[in-house]
Symmetry: C2
Subunit: 200 residues, 2 copies
Amino acid sequence: MNKVITISREFGSGGREFARRLADKLNFAYYDREIITEIAKRTNLAEEYIQHLNEQRPSPLFPITVGNTISPVMDVMWEQQNQIFVEQSNLLKELAEKSDCVIVGRAADYVLEDFKPFRIRLYAELGSRIERCKARAKDGENLNDRQLKQKINEVDKNRAKYYQFYTGKKWADPINYDLCINTTDKDIKKLAEFFADIIK
Amino acid sequence: MNKVITISREFGSGGREFARRLADKLNFAYYDREIITEIAKRTNLAEEYIQHLNEQRPSPLFPITVGNTISPVMDVMWEQQNQIFVEQSNLLKELAEKSDCVIVGRAADYVLEDFKPFRIRLYAELGSRIERCKARAKDGENLNDRQLKQKINEVDKNRAKYYQFYTGKKWADPINYDLCINTTDKDIKKLAEFFADIIK
């Protein structure tokens, strides 16, 4: 069976960079944008829309009602979100069948549990996450600390709801992971090299 | 400055064995019973009594009252518990000044924060902790699963209260540690060897 490493990460904890560097160092496949592109092909939905839906918490239990009618917009979004989750889960399994790989997010620790993945979670203190967000901000993106804090909280809340909805488990609970790494003020490159040595 | 590693651990997660093996492998000092013996000397209290007080949650806020009188027994215990914590904290600092070392429990990550310790936490699924307790049970100690579960919960509740009382922080929160390791079904010897390589 191929080796699978899953990375769960708090927003701003350096998870994506860690995953990429870990994969490089181990010579494992690393999929990110390619997953969205492939799902877009399979579902005939736009990549940006898939990305958007993937970042929303699923909310089928409280649909917007107008009078007695459930809003058809919510219903469609909810169906699409589920469709994406199913297609994405199938794709993740295909990728794990193909070669050793590192997968970020997407409840992959749960989706790929038959592959007995090595499940890593990255987290960090809020201040450190804010600094990391600033350092990697694109040109023109100029959020202040308060706005970044708000964004971090919002993204993590959605990730937690997404995870809990599809797995029935708590996203931040260490028991769902093999190793939890505090990245506060750490050099992600060095961390990835350290842990690659362990996993090898 | 000497290197200090602190180990926080759920009861039954293999923390003491991990600490001992890690210290062996790294050639660091490992203190356990010696701490109790030294505190006994410094406080003129019996070793068994110190061990007992160390495992109780501090409870100064709700003293037993008899009529209008605060029970003098509770008062003495509470004072002794604090005295032990202070003496123990001083001793831990002396030990950390002396050489590289590994310290288990005792809120050492907080007490020794000036030494910038590498803070490890070990945890595991309940079933695995029950099995580990059984495997290391002394002759004549024959608790069933229900009793072991009760004991595990009780010990961890006391450890959490002790930690929170003296540090003001949550014992089980990963943010208080650099690395959290899930020991479920893992061989502690191998784990310790792995992680010794990282820390070296």
